[in-house]
Amino acid sequence: MVLVLALGDLHVPHRAADLPAKFKSMLVPGKIQHIICTGNLCIKEVHDYLKSLCPDLHITRGEYDEDARYPETKTLTIGQFKLGLCHGHQVVPWGDLDSLAMLQRQLDVDILVTGHTHQFKAYKHEGGVVINPGSATGAYSSITYDVNPSFILMDIDGLRVVVYVYELIDGEVKVDKIDFKKTATMHA
C-alpha cells in the first residue's frame, strides 16, 4: 500500500500565491511515501515545502522553473508499476493523447504523468495510462483562465492502482476515485 502524491503547475509566486488552504490542511507529513511533481513550481520555497511533506521527491523541469537542474523526464519504479514523469510542454501538440502515448512508449512506462495543460485528465490506451494532475493552485494556463485546483493521490497496491482525484470546485473539496489494474498486455 504505497501512497504517491502527484501534482504540478503551481506557478508560485507568479500566477498564484499558494496552494488553496483546504488542500494544505489535508497534506500532512507522514502519510505519503513519494511525491512526483510535473514541474513549474517555480521557486525553491515550494520545493522545500514539498520536501517537508515527504523526503522522496521527484521533479521534472517546467518552462518557468527557476531551478535549471531538474531533468526533462524521469522514470521510477514503485511496487509493480513503472511511472514516467515529464512536464509536457515539450510534447507538441500540448495535451495531445497520441503524442503523449508516443512519449510513453519511448520512456517504456506503465503510467505517464504529465502536466502543462492545467486540466485533470486520466486516459487509458493500449500502451498504458496517461494521467494529468492538473494545477494544484488553479493558476491560469497558456490556454485558458478557467482552471480548478486539483491534484491526485495514487494508492499502489500490488497490481492495482486506485487514483484519488482531489478537486476544489466552488470552494469545496471533491474527491473521486479511479481504479485500474495492470495487465500483462499493457505494454510490450
Partner: protein, 505 residues
C-alpha cells in the same frame, strides 16, 4: 534507633553460637544480647519471665500475637544472607524448619497428594533432610545433591504427567505441583500446565479439541479484522458488494471512468470514521510495537528469527486493538516472550499450528490480573500501579518492619524506584530466562492468583538481601535492587510461601 536494635536480639533462648553470623550487621546488638535478655515488658505478653521459657516448638507468625512489631524468629536465622556467606553454624536450616505449621513432617521424601497446599516447604525440607546436609550453600555436597535432586525431579515429572493424564484435571493438585516448579526436562509438560493454570483449557479433557478449535477460528477472525491495511479492506469490501460492474481488464481505450468516493474514504481524510485516518493514527503504536519486538531478548536466537518476531508483532497489534483503554505499553513484549517461547518449544506436534492463537489467549488471561497496572489513568487510583507498590510496601512492613523502616524512612528507597520493573514485567528482567520461567510456574500455579503471589515474591526478594540492604545507603541499595543478584530460586519461593496469608490489606 536504640529500640530498633533491641528487636534484633533473638526472642527465645538460643545458643550464642548462632549469632556470630549476624555480626556484620548491627554490631551494637552483640553487647546487648550478651547480657541477660531483659526484653521490654511491652513487647511480649509473656512478661519478664520470657527468657526462661524453652524454645517454642511451634512456628507461628507474630502477626497472630498482639506484638506485631517483632521480627519473626525464622526471619532472624542467618540463612537469610545473600550468597555466598557460608554459615559457621551447624545446620540452622534443619533446626528452623522442624516442624512446619500444619501437618507433621513425613519421613518419605515424596509428598503425598492428600497434603494441603503449603506443603512445598515440607517437601523440600524433607528432601533436604533425607539428603542430610547443612544449609543452602552446600558447596561440598554437589554429587549428593545432584543424585538426590535428579531422583526428586524425575519423581516430580512423573507426578505432573500423572496429574495431566486424568480425564478431569484436578486443579488443586495441579496447582500444588506447579508451585513446586516444573522440573528440567519438563518442556513437554510446561505448555500444558500453563494453559490449564491460565484457564485457557477447560478442566475436562474431552472438551479440549472443541475449545481449541473455537479459539483458533476466533484468532483468525481477529487477524482478518485488525491486520489489514485500508486499501485491502476497501478492496475486500467492494468485492463483496460487487460494486465493480465493468471488467477492469478490458482493452477499452479512452477516458477512464471516475467514481464517487463515499464517506470520505480517501487517504487524506481527517474524518473520525475514516478507515484511513484511523490507520494513520494507529501507526505510531505500530511503530512502537515494531521497535519493541525487535529488542526482545536479543541474546536469544529464538527471538531473532523473522517468523517469531512477526508472530509476536501480530499478537501485540491485535491485543492493542482489542484493548483501546491500555493499548500497548512498553514491556508487554517482555511478558509475552516467555509464553511464546514455552509454547513454541512444545514437543507435542499437534499444537504447533496454533501456537500463536494459544499464546494470544493465554497472554490475555495472564494480563487480565495486571491490567490495572498498565492503565495510565488509574495510576493514582485505588487499583493502579501506585497502589500496588504501596501494597508491596505494606507487605514488607508487616513482615520485616526493621527493613521497611530502613528502606522507606532512613534511606528513602521507595518501591517505585525498583519494584516498578519487577511488577510490570513480572520479574522477567531480573533473572535469567530459565530462572524466571521457573518462578512463573509458581506465580501461575498459586491458588491466591498471580498478582498476590507476585507481591509476595517481591517481598521475599527484599528479605533475602536484607542484610545488604540494612547495611547500605540510598545509592548502594538502589544499585543492588536494580541489578538483583542471582539467588537460589527454591530459597526465594520458599520464603515467598512463608509470607502467605497476610497479603490482603
Amino acid at each position: 534507633m536504640q529500640r530498633d536494635t533491641d528487636i534484633l536480639a533473638p526472642l527465645g533462648a538460643t545458643n550464642p553460637s548462632q549469632q556470630p553470623s549476624l555480626s556484620c550487621c548491627v554490631p551494637t546488638c552483640r553487647s546487648r544480647s550478651a547480657a541477660a535478655l531483659l526484653p521490654e515488658p511491652s513487647r511480649h505478653e509473656a512478661g519478664a519471665a520470657f527468657h526462661l521459657l524453652p524454645p517454642r516448638p511451634s512456628r507461628s507468625f507474630p502477626m497472630r500475637k498482639k506484638a506485631a512489631r517483632v521480627v519473626p524468629e525464622w526471619l532472624n536465622s542467618p540463612l537469610w544472607s545473600a550468597p555466598p556467606q557460608a554459615p559457621a553454624s551447624p545446620d540452622p536450616y534443619g533446626a528452623d524448619l522442624s516442624p512446619p505449621p500444619p501437618p507433621k513432617p513425613q519421613p518419605p521424601p515424596t509428598p503425598t497428594p492428600t497434603v494441603p497446599p503449603p506443603s512445598y516447604e515440607q517437601a523440600v525440607g524433607s528432601s533436604r533432610r533425607a539428603r542430610g546436609e547443612a544449609g543452602w550453600e552446600g558447596d561440598g555436597e554437589d554429587e549428593d545433591e545432584d543424585s538426590g535432586g535428579a531422583a526428586l525431579r524425575a519423581h516430580l515429572l512423573s507426578d505432573f504427567k500423572l496429574a495431566l493424564s486424568k480425564k478431569v484435571i484436578n486443579m488443586g493438585e495441579l496447582r500444588r505441583l506447579a508451585c513446586l516448579g516444573v522440573p528440567e526436562g519438563g518442556a513437554g509438560v510446561r505448555p500444558l500446565v500453563w494453559k490449564l493454570l491460565l484457564g485457557y483449557l477447560p478442566i475436562e479433557r474431552a472438551f479440549w479439541p472443541h475449545e481449541l478449535q473455537k479459539k483458533w477460528s476466533q484468532y483468525s477472525a481477529y487477524i482478518d479484522e485488525f491486520l489489514l491495511n485500508p486499501s485491502e479492506k476497501i478492496r475486500r469490501f467492494e468485492e463483496t458488494k460487487l460494486l465493480r460492474k465493468k471488467e477492469l481488464n478490458s482493452d477499452k481505450i479512452g477516458l477512464l471512468p471516475r467514481s464517487e468516493v463515499t464517506n470520505e474514504e480517501h487517504p487524506l481524510s481527517v474524518g473520525k470514521s475514516s478507515l484511513w485516518n484511523q490507520y494513520f493514527q494507529e501507526s505510531e503504536i505500530l511503530e512502537q510495537i515494531d521497535r519493541d519486538v525487535k529488542r526482545t531478548h536479543p541474546e536469544m536466537s529464538f527471538f531473532s528469527t523473522k517468523t517469531n518476531q512477526e508472530s509476536l508483532r501480530r499478537i501485540l497489534i491485535i491485543f492493542s486493538k482489542l484493548n483501546p483503554s491500555i493499548r500497548y505499553v512498553q514491556g508487554m513484549n517482555e511478558v509475552l516472550a516467555p509464553l511464546f517461547y514455552v509454547f513454541m518449544n512444545d514437543p507435542d506436534p499437534s499444537n504447533s499450528a496454533s501456537v500463536e492463537a494459544d499464546t494470544f489467549f493465554c497472554f490475555i488471561e495472564l494480563l487480565s490480573g495486571f491490567k490495572n497496572n498498565y492503565c495510565k489513568h488509574l495510576d493514582d487510583s485505588q487499583v493502579g500501579i501506585r497502589s500496588t507498590l504501596s501494597k508491596l510496601s505494606q507487605l514488607l512492613k508487616r513482615h520485616d518492619e526493621e527493613l521497611w523502616r530502613h528502606m522507606e524512612i532512613t534511606t528513602k528507597v521507595y518501591p517505585q524506584y525498583y519494584a516498578f520493573r519487577w511488577i510490570t514485567l513480572l520479574l522477567t528482567m531480573e533473572f535469567s530466562f530459565n530462572v524466571f520461567i521457573h518462578i512463573w510456574d509458581a506465580i501461575l500455579g498459586d491458588p491466591e492468583g498471580p498478582p498476590e503471589t507476585l507481591l509476595r515474591i517481591c517481598c521475599a526478594m527484599l528479605i533475602i538481601v536484607r542484610r545488604r540492604l540494612l547495611a547500605g545507603d540510598f545509592t548502594a541499595n538502589i544499585q543492588l535492587l536494580q541489578h538483583y543478584p542471582p539467588t537460589n530460586i527454591d530459597h526465594l519461593l520458599h520464603i515467598a510461601n512463608r509470607l502467605r496469608g497476610s497479603v490482603a490489606i
